[in-house]
Point group: C2
Chain length 203, copies 2
C-alpha cells in the first residue's frame, strides 16, 4: 500500500478527491500525514476529519532549507513514499527537491508550459483574459524550476462562451482530480519512468 | 458567398480541407486566389487543380511592406473578404495587418500561448521534447505580434505513448482543419466578434 504525504497551504479540494478514492477502494494507498505552512488551511481540517495526521509547521523566521528539513523529517518518520503538493504555496529548496527526486508531484491549473509560475496569480483569470478557448491542468514531478518538471499527465478542458473564473476553476479541478488519481495508481504500480524531461508510462 | 484568399508557402494541406468542404457544399464560400512567396509551393499546384487562381510573387529584393502591398492589390482585385494564412512563412507588415484587421486568420500547431513564434522551428518536435501530454492547435486573428492575436478557436489533441512528430502532426492537422472550417462558417455568418483580446462567438 502506497504511503502518501500531502503538503498543502489552502483548501485541499484535490486532496479530498484522493481521500475519497482511497475510501472507495479505488486506490491502494493511504495518506499518512498532511503538512501545512498555514495554520488555518482547511486542508488540515479535512485531514483531521478523516483521522489523518495534520501538522502545522511555522515557516516564519526559518531559512527555506531549514523549514524543508523539518518537513522532510516528518515525512520520513511517517514512511512517506510519494509527496503530493496540493495548493502548496511555497517554493521548495534544492535540497528537498534532490532528496525526493521524482517522488514529488505538483498539480498546476493550466496546460504547461502555458501560464507557468503562477503561484501568487489567479491563473484562471489570466487564461480568460488572454482569450484562450482551451485550458486544462498539468501534473508534474517537481524539479528546481517553477512548474518546469517532467510532465506526468495533462488534461484539456474547453472554455465556453460566458466562462467565468469560477466555472473554469470547477471544471479544471475535476480534471485535476482525475489525473492525480490515475497518476497515483501508476506510481504505486511503478509504471512511471522518467527519462530526461519525458515521463514514460509503462504498460 | 464568402470570398477567401489564401497565403501559403508550403503544401497547403489545410487549404485542401477547405476546398473539400466547399466542394461538399459544407461551406458557402469560394477561394478566389492563392498567393505564395514560394514558386514551387505545392499549395499553388493544389489551387490550379481546382481551377483557383494561383499567383507566385517574388519577395526577393523587396521591402516587407512593398511586398505586402502587392499581395493586397491582388487580394483586393479579387474581392477577398477573408485572408487565410496556411503555412505562410512570412511575417506581415504593420500596414497589412492594419488594413485587414480581424480579417486575417492564422493557424498555429500548438495551444497558444504555449510554443508560440515557431515559424522556423518544428513545433511538434519541440512539444514532444518538452514532454507534453496534450497538444493541439490555435486559430487566431493576426495582430502585430508573432502568434499573439485574438484566439478564435483551439482544439486539444492527446499525446500518447510512442507519439512521433509525424503521428502528432497528422492528428493536429486534422484538428486544424476542423476548427478552420468551423471558424470560416462563423465568420461568414458574422458571428465572430473581437473584444480586446477575446473573440466572442455570437449565437
Amino acid at each position: 500500500m502506497l504511503n502518501i504525504g500531502v503538503l498543502a497551504s489552502t483548501r485541499g479540494t484535490d486532496m479530498q478527491a484522493v481521500i475519497d478514492a482511497i475510501e472507495r477502494g479505488e486506490l491502494d494507498a493511504k495518506i499518512s500525514v498532511v503538512i501545512s505552512n498555514k495554520k488555518d488551511a482547511y486542508a488540515l481540517e479535512r485531514a483531521r476529519k478523516h483521522n489523518i495526521k495534520a501538522v502545522f509547521l511555522e515557516a516564519k523566521g526559518k531559512e527555506r532549507e531549514e523549514f524543508d528539513r523539518e518537513v522532510a523529517k516528518i515525512l520520513d518518520e511517517n514512511g512517506v513514499e510519494l509527496i503530493l503538493l496540493i495548493g502548496y504555496m511555497r517554493y521548495l529548496s534544492k535540497w528537498f527537491v534532490d532528496k525526493y527526486r521524482n517522488k514529488i508531484m505538483n498539480i498546476h491549473p493550466s496546460l504547461l508550459p502555458a501560464f507557468a509560475g503562477g503561484m501568487d496569480k489567479n491563473v484562471h483569470a489570466e487564461i480568460l483574459k488572454y482569450g484562450c478557448k482551451v485550458s486544462g491542468c498539468t501534473l508534474h514531478f517537481v524539479d528546481e524550476g517553477a512548474d518546469t518538471g517532467p510532465i506526468i499527465a495533462q488534461k484539456a478542458v474547453p472554455i465556453e462562451e460566458g466562462e467565468t473564473v469560477d466555472s473554469l476553476k470547477e471544471k479544471v479541478q475535476k480534471a485535476e482530480q482525475e489525473i492525480i488519481i490515475k497518476a497515483i495508481k501508476l506510481f504505486a504500480e511503478n509504471k512511471l519512468k522518467v527519462e530526461g524531461r519525458r515521463v514514460k508510462i509503462l504498460q
